[in-house]
Structure formats: structure tokens, C-alpha cells
Amino acid sequence: MIKTVEGARVLAEAAVACRLDVVACYPITPTTHLTEELNQFYADGRIPEYLTVEAEFSAISALIGASAAGARTFTTTGGQGLLYMHEPLFSAAGMRLPIVMLVGNRAVSSPLNIWNDEQDTISQRDTGWIQIYCRNNQEAVDSIPQAFYVAEKILLPVMVCVDGHYLTHAVEQVDVPDEKLVQGFLPPYKYPLKLDPQNPVSLGVYANPTHYQTFREDVVADMEAAKEILVEAGKKWGKLTGREYGLINAYKVKDADRVLLSVGSVMDNVVMVVDELREKGEKVGALHLRVLRPFPREEIAKALEGKKVGVIDRDLSIGAQAPIYLEIAEALNGKGAQVSSFYGGLGGRGVKRVHIRELFEKLRKGPVKQWITTEPPKAAMKG
């Protein structure tokens, strides 16, 4: 059913359509409305168990326990909340628990900032969680059932990353899948080794030097294997709804000589500029990196071979090159591509069409590495 509704609220509907067993959240901007909505669903009896916890560390820890006991679990956070989860994020992945989390991407302190960039999730890219980035709320709504599908098949947790405020607070038309459709797509959850007093096991315990690396090698191999399942889930979802998904989304890339690449909502702006410049006869394209983990290295190399590529990073690795740029540059090494790095748009400084036009212009010349110099919002300039 098509609804005109605020992002955070419709994301809760998509999550509940997956028939959650246990939810534990600690509210934080920009996903507070999502938490509110989940609370309402609990009050209405559509979520059997909702744990009000004292912090994000507890939220994810509670879900680690619930997931190990065989429950389908969901939570939401963003920014500082996600950073506070950092340690248990590794545990959830290492214990092979298919938890799904909706992250409202938010800048991190300090200085304190509640607006959007992708620093929070980029900083969690090594935790062993699958990361799906969404350009708009429709993609986010569609990605939640797919996230459970993939997580429960490969037994790794999934982060669905949605730009805070730009998407979480945006009111737009979204086709909300009903519970029946989702249930037809998503098989019931059955953790193969659940915590059970009749058959006691310890999960997430100590591993000697003899065994530790073996487990890590297994996670690495399965993360790689998750690519196939992500594609399978995207195709299956496409058959049901007409909206198919893959690891990357290439828009007019095939014959393009210049391509901009990024994650998240900024890519919808890039697509608009691509249409505009194509009308003027310029051969430009847009590539959305939908899945950052597992990193679709081969798909990127195939799509962008020999092109002038600009990577927009709305995140940093302070003291080194921009994180997404580095990975794209590595994937395109020896492929005759010229890769530029544009970083900025941090803490709510929007990367608008006017800036994207400039970036496409800059791509014409040699490879560059530079800040995206966006103007501060007008209100700030008055003071």
C-alpha cells in the first residue's frame, strides 16, 4: 500500500511486518520516532517482547542474548549510540547472531552534532556486520525484510543504514509491503544452535590461539559468501514487488566517461544531476554502493573499468585517505581508471546538486583529492 508518511515511522512498520520476537532500543536522534513507533506496536501487541534498556550497549547486549535463545531481534540507533555499541557489535558477528539494526546515520562528537553524515557506520565497517546503505525510504523499507533474509541464511548481523534527518524525518511516498507479502518472502527464523537448558552450550566463550583464527577465517569466508545471498534476496524481492536490488546500483554508467560514486541519500541528488547533464550531451553516470560489507570488489571493477571515477566520502579516516575512496581505488587498481576523492558534507552540510555539478567538472581533469566545499546553511551566516 502506498502511503505518504515520515521515514522513521514507516521503517517501524516494515520491521514489524517481519514478525519480530524481541526488540530492545534506547532512543536517540535521529531514530527516536522509530523507537516511539516500535513502542506503540508493542503496546498494540504486535511485538511480543520489548526491553526498555538503560543504554545502547545494553540494547545490543540484550539482543545478543535474545537472538542466541532463538528470537528474531531488531533494534535501532545512530551516531553516538552506535559507537557505544562498538564492542558488542564484534561479539554479535563473532557469535553468528542474525540481529538486524536500522541505523539513522548521524555525525559523531566532538563537536556534538545530530545531523547527518556516515561517520558512525563507516567506523563500524570492520565489526563483521553486513552493511546495506539506502538512497531513499523506499529502499530502506525494502531492505529490512531482505536484511532478515540474508542475516538468517548466512548467520551474520545486518545494519541497514539510512541517512538521519534526510531520510528518517522526510515525509515521502513509500510503498509499504504488507505482512502477508513479507511472510511469503521471509521463512520463519530458526537458529541452529539455540540456548536451551535441556542441551546446555556456551556461546561466545574463550578460544585459544589454537582455535581463534579458525573462527575468524570462517566469518571472513561467510561474509564473502553473503554476496550471493544478498543478490538472491534482492531478486526474490524484485519478483514480489517489482523493485529488484543488487550489491551496487549503476545508473547510466555503461557508456559514461565520468562517474560519481557514494553511499546513501546523496546518490539521489547525483542521479538528478546525471539526468540534467545527459540532456546537455555529457556522458556521466552514478553508482550507488548499496552494500559496503561485503565489499563488492569485482562488481565495482567491472562497472568502472577505464572510467574517471569520483568517490564522495561523507566520512573520514583522520590521518589517512577517505575510507570508501581507498577501497574503490584498491578495487580499480590496474583497471585503467582514474579515481578522485571528494570528502565533506559532514554534520548536515548538504551535498546539493550545485556541488555535484562542480564535482563532475573537476573529474574532467587529473585525479584530485579534496574537500567538498559546501556553504554553511544561511541561518548560520546571519550571526
Partner: protein
């Protein structure tokens, strides 16, 4: 796909003896069988009291508590050579 887990009682499979840099060696002639080392050993791997200690080197981590506590200093901590 492996789910890392442990069944009850399986921690004994974690052989900790390879951690040690020094191993305790008991001089049986000097030992007075007082039982202090056996009671102090954090791993409980020095055998029964009132007998000369029989050390289980598979689990001895080489912590030196026994040598430190021995009233007659009959336990020598000897360097373990590793590859």
C-alpha cells in the same frame, strides 16, 4: 559456517601449558611435603598434599607461585626454550 560454542566440561581441552616461559622443577630430596605449593597453585595441578609434587605440565602456566611460596626453596623455575 561454524557457530563458535562450547559444551559443558570442554574447557579442559584448552591446554594452557604452552603459555609458560619458565617451568617449575621440584628437587624431591629437599622437599618436606608441607603441601603449601599444592594449596597455593592457582591451577590445582601439583598433585596431592603430603606427597612430593607431581606437576601436570600440560596445564601449568609457569606462574611461579609455588616456587615463591616454598619454605625450603626446593622448586626451581627453569627457562623453557621455544622455537
Amino acid at each position: 559456517m561454524i557457530i563458535p560454542h562450547a559444551k559443558p566440561g570442554t574447557s579442559v581441552q584448552n591446554i594452557t601449558g604452552e603459555w609458560k616461559a619458565y617451568m617449575p622443577v621440584v628437587n624431591g630430596d629437599k622437599c618436606i611435603k608441607c603441601g603449601i605449593c599444592q594449596n597455593f597453585c592457582p591451577e590445582g595441578i601439583m598433585g596431592e598434599v603430603k606427597r612430593i609434587p607431581e606437576i601436570d605440565y600440560e596445564y601449568c602456566k609457569g606462574c611461579s607461585v609455588c616456587a615463591n611460596e616454598c619454605p625450603v626453596k626446593c622448586i626451581e623455575m627453569r627457562r623453557v626454550e621455544q622455537d
